[in-house]
Symmetry: C2
Subunit: 199 residues, 2 copies
């Protein structure tokens, strides 16, 4: 039996449907919403609608944007011959934050994952092939996550792009800067040895 | 510098303003909203507005309801001579779930807490006094939480209601059922001894 008004129960359920939010947290959040001034609650609802309405994928790189072409693709100062392929928009931010990269991006919005029923057609691979087929791209840097699914996706794409004669590279594996060898796992150490460079 | 569209940043901020949601979680939730079908996102926004619009305090007991008088106050089967005073709507549910109590409630929506600048006028105490002054209430059961603020609030209210000649009681303190003496704290053990009853 439910002791709360149905509209409050409904709001609680909505919060509980979000990832990482349990029933108790959802109730706490719903109560918090009730305690907000009317205009703040309305602003919250509007923020949801507005984000859904205005945010979509850049027509070139598939990164999230509220205009037709994102600020990276439309910048005249970026090297348009290099494209870094990442699995999601958060990876774009991580790379941008390093201020080391001046090329363009391609956001796949996922990785190939048979266990989760995600195939090559479910992520933005054909958009990447179209870009490469246009001919102005000289290097593709695969920057999917260094896990099984990220690796599989990177390999699949590199095979797919080989016929176009474009240079395909992969981010280097190794010991993270600032970490300790003591805590590095075997696979990372092995890759770090394999990829060793001369001083 | 922000790398995401402003509407997405705005939605992230809204989530981050909720209690217990940090910046990373807020971003994850905002991305989840973007991944929802349009109608689900719209339903989420509408749930917020609808809960804010329809949920308010019962005109008698101040519990949350979407009608003028809540389902407990409007039930003809409840004992209207007994009122249980609790700090918030969640306590009403806890007591209802025990199926032991058949009287009415009064929800204070807070406790007196000088440190948080909550005085007697900031919670629903005068509504309780008005109910008691009406004369049909015979017993008030103080059921605020057994902490300093709950105790202070209970004492303040009982002093305030004394002139009306109503019987005022307090929930029993003691060892929680199913727990072990080994883990009971000193204060609880002391109260359990003080409140000991004959077999």
């Amino acid at each position: 039996m439910s002791f709360f008004p149905p509209t409050l129960e409904n709001l609680t359920e909505k919060f509980a449907s979000l990832p990482g939010i349990g029933q108790k947290s959802a109730q706490r959040l719903a109560f918090h919403i009730l305690s907000l001034p009317d205009q703040d609650a309305a602003a919250f609802a509007e923020a949801i609608l507005e984000a859904k309405r205005s945010v979509h994928c850049c027509s070139i790189c598939q990164n999230l944007t509220d205009s037709d072409v994102c600020f990276i693709c439309s910048s005249p100062r970026r090297d348009e011959h290099t494209v870094c392929v990442v699995s999601d928009p958060k990876a774009v931010i991580a790379i941008e934050r390093s201020r080391e990269y001046n090329g363009l991006f391609h956001v796949l919005h996922g990785v190939i994952s048979p266990l989760n029923h995600v195939g090559p057609d479910d992520i933005k691979i054909k958009e990447l092939v179209t870009r490469v087929a246009d001919g102005s791209i000289e290097e593709i840097i695969m920057a999917t996550n260094p896990d099984t699914e990220g690796e599989t996706t990177a390999k699949y794409i590199s095979r797919l792009l080989k016929p176009f004669g474009v240079k395909i590279t992969r981010l280097a594996y190794g010991i993270p800067v600032g970490s300790s060898l003591e805590f590095a796992d075997d696979a990372t150490l092995m890759r770090a040895l394999e990829g060793r460079q001369e001083f």
